[in-house]
Symmetry: C2
Amino acid sequence: MTGLVLEHRAPIARELYAVLRQRILTGALEPGTTISETSYAGQMGVSRTPVREVFRRLADEGLLEVRPQVGTYVAAISLTAVHDSQFVRETLECRTVRMAVERARPEDDAALRAHLERQRPAVLAGDYIAFFPADEALHVELIRMAGRAAIWSVIQDVKTQLDRVRYLSFESRDWLGKIFAEHERIVERVIARDADGAEAIMREHLRTVFTAIERLMASKPHFFAPSR
Amino acid sequence: MTGLVLEHRAPIARELYAVLRQRILTGALEPGTTISETSYAGQMGVSRTPVREVFRRLADEGLLEVRPQVGTYVAAISLTAVHDSQFVRETLECRTVRMAVERARPEDDAALRAHLERQRPAVLAGDYIAFFPADEALHVELIRMAGRAAIWSVIQDVKTQLDRVRYLSFESRDWLGKIFAEHERIVERVIARDADGAEAIMREHLRTVFTAIERLMASKPHFFAPSR
DNA sequence: ACAAGAATACTAGTATACAAGTCCAAGAGT
DNA sequence: ACTCTTGGACTTGTATACTAGTATTCTTGT
């Protein structure tokens, strides 16, 4: 008994997935970019097998487009997909925030306030990297309060499309402040047990992405797939 | 020029996916069943590569559980996952059916009636196989009328969990008739441009799965994952 | 110069070989 | 009889080799 726990090194595919996904979301790899299994495997110093597994998964998420025997490309942004993703998120989170209000207990209020305090320093520092997980944590908390924690996986799925637009559109410097102010208003309405108010602000909050979509369409129209 | 179009034979993985998915949904492979990549590949007469790809996708869908270095199993039914899937579907389709009513045009009414007529013979014959696609087609039509056709992919995703319960619970002989009657009432309310009525019946319609869940829990409790 | 066709250099799909972790059971030692 | 150890038979993870389809480029004939 050495007391030493040998760590399993994480599967290569898991690491590759996180890295490539982030590169696409942040725009390091722009929509339309060609990226073959062989070349990416060589670039990352691994074999095609895990790369192929990652490509398949990202294709299912709508971030890659695989054309058999031809090539793989970073998927163009589908305006329809983005709009419908926003619709799904708004529909689900507006309903769950109502439920959160109805089920809220005193200790939940404290948890919500704690989430805000975790976000505040990131906002003041203009630190997007730190803000994103704290942002998600608040939304997860509200869903948990609603008693539907498992639907976060569905929201995460559609949120992928929205996050990519957010990243690519280069939100302005005061964006963090705006988002945070809306978070404060939502939490305030929840603590006041005002379901209508909380839902209204949540709806407004989740519709701010539309301005990002419009800005991106104006500045980078070639990122979008033809609407057909 | 021969006029003969050489068909690309469909990728093996695609075929494997459809077959294995159906086997799991229908219960030919019961929850908890062990199924290794090697054995299934041998059984299907293909190599591990496409089998592995299919396993990953089904694991992402929550139909398989892959334990590294140990084995792969047909996933147990998660009561939480099923309930939250129902919640997502109800939330989305209740909202879209309202929108369908608001946007409905005369030619849409005809399309809805046509879908009912397509379902009727399957109901009279007690033909589940023929009914399922006609059932889905009606729901897709309503979503299309709402102008949100793309959210069907989200609904399909959560619907997987619900369909499995439906299959495994062995719905009674008169189930088709009940479902069809609800379809008729929904279509009738849409044609009457009664958004509240249509939404109410849709909600009732999508909650019938709860009786299937209860029946399955009573008859096959070992199909379910411990709730923790 | 130009158009048609053949060689070439890619691509993803599939098969196979090897590596490493896990579980179970048989057997040795006490 | 019981415990511990050790070996073997699994499992999935990864690497590599081969197949077949596609697009481009270069050659060839006019």
